[in-house]
Symmetry: C2
């Protein structure tokens, strides 16, 4: 994507954007012209007989939003941007979604449906929880923008996708004679860990994107030689641990290792309570 110092619509040269943000058009009218030109191939037929190119629908809007958020992050998601990608006017979107928050909530629901829930019963509780953990892990890899939004959106609106996810995870305890409160405590610990690692992953992705946009600052921060974190005497324990455990920074391996630790803890607790975990051996598989 190369930005030229000329209006993308009328071609008129515009100042090198030192005034504020990088600009694409010389005026808002030109921006409007740009998406109208893109809409030429859509002859605005009747709503029912759509010739291959479908009409503006909630599904198309949500899909376009997910594509943008996946590729460029939630910060790049704007109503104008979605409308431009769809070749329509900005305000047309509001015929189908109530607001941007509404759109993001719909995007979360649709994106969570992208990663299918397992349709079979788990072999045992450990298998069930591992399956649930990797399902979420996969989800956050595909749509890293979900995590920061889920945390606000989910509580305001009710999310069927999130509820289904939890329901599926809880099925791991189905065969065990476990009190609901106990199952809830295990699940809380388990889910908090997964969420915490996901937050680190999302943070890494975001930092990487920032570094790509502004390489100077990113390089400065990630340059280990100049990072005071690695100065000889500043933070000795941290530096030693980072050198030993975080080089290379393999978040997938760390996730698996910590997950095994969490599940080992649950297994030990179950054993102490004399509950048959039915899982047989399968102890501590954190070497990987």
């Amino acid at each position: 994507m190369s930005v030229q110092p000329a209006c993308a619509s009328c071609g008129k040269s515009l100042e090198p954007a030192d005034r504020g943000r990088p600009r694409l058009y010389c005026s808002r009218a030109c921006q409007a012209k740009a998406y109208r030109a893109r809409r030429v191939e859509a002859p605005a037929g009747t709503p029912e007989d759509n010739d291959g190119a479908p009409h503006l629908t909630v599904e198309r809007i949500v899909r376009a939003g997910i594509v943008i958020a996946d590729a460029e992050g939630l910060d790049a998601l704007s109503m104008r941007r979605v409308a431009m990608d769809l070749g329509t006017g900005t305000m047309s979107l509001y015929r189908h979604v109530a607001s941007k928050d509404d759109l993001v909530a719909l995007m979360v629901e649709a994106a969570m449906a992208d990663v299918p829930l397992p349709d079979s019963a788990p072999r045992d509780w450990r298998h069930g929880l591992e399956r649930a953990a990797y399902r979420d892990w996969d989800l956050y890899h595909r749509h890293p923008w979900i995590l920061p939004r889920v945390m606000v959106t989910t509580r305001a609106y009710f999310s069927p996708a999130l509820a289904a996810d939890s329901e599926s995870a809880f099925s791991a305890f189905d065969g065990l004679d476990l009190e609901p409160a106990e199952a809830f405590r295990y699940m809380f610990m388990f889910a908090s860990y997964v969420q915490g690692v996901a937050l680190t992953y999302v943070s890494d992705m975001e930092a990487e994107r920032q570094a790509r946009i502004a390489p100077a600052q990113g390089a400065k921060a990630s340059n280990e030689a100049q990072n005071p974190l690695f100065a000889p005497g500043a933070y000795p324990r941290l530096a030693r641990a980072m050198r030993a455990g975080a080089t290379p920074w393999d978040l997938d391996a760390l996730f698996a290792s910590g997950l095994a630790g969490i599940l080992d803890g649950i297994a030990a607790d179950l054993a102490r309570r004399g509950i048959d975990s039915r899982s047989g051996g399968h102890r501590n598989e954190k070497s990987r």
Copy 2:
């Protein structure tokens, strides 16, 4: 608040915010005069109170930002708002902070310094980790806005406060004969859990604030009778667990319970490795 349509300095009537924003002064000269008057009024007598504002400084700006973010969330933090609370012009802030991102980064550093690090060696590793966990827990209670920002800010800039926090937590393993890579894995699991619970807490706080602002939607979502989550057959396992474990929703108790589980897991792992888990604080070395 009532905005009188008169210049706060010269008293001349001014048109009622002809272009959107509420105006306080009829001209920049009057605003400058008002600012100067306030400066002279409190020379240096009692600089500890807010009325004894000596100068516009980075510390005052950062403090004002933290007050706003604590009380109303990061969304309410704007440069104009900070300037208004300080009784100065918006652009004056830019003489002391480079940008809003810079301000937030400084706010994070200052807020983390609010919760002091322990200055003594931990009794043993478990005590050290518990101390670190509750230190973070306290931090997120006081400044819930830190978590979403730390995750982006920390990687871009280098955060001494966060590094000191990690360094202090790592001191829990000081006395143990533990390989750095192993300590890092434990710490990763531990920190991820704490972060995950903190995310839930922050989410709750945000939802509460949203509900306060827009009570209609919040009431609708939190009304259990109408929430499909509690519909009889929709999500049976989830509903049963929620009723059992989440009524009342005591996040502090859940945090403590899950933390105990995490530490139990580490203890079991240490025992399996034949490491004396009761040894801990050795020589009294403070992180500088």
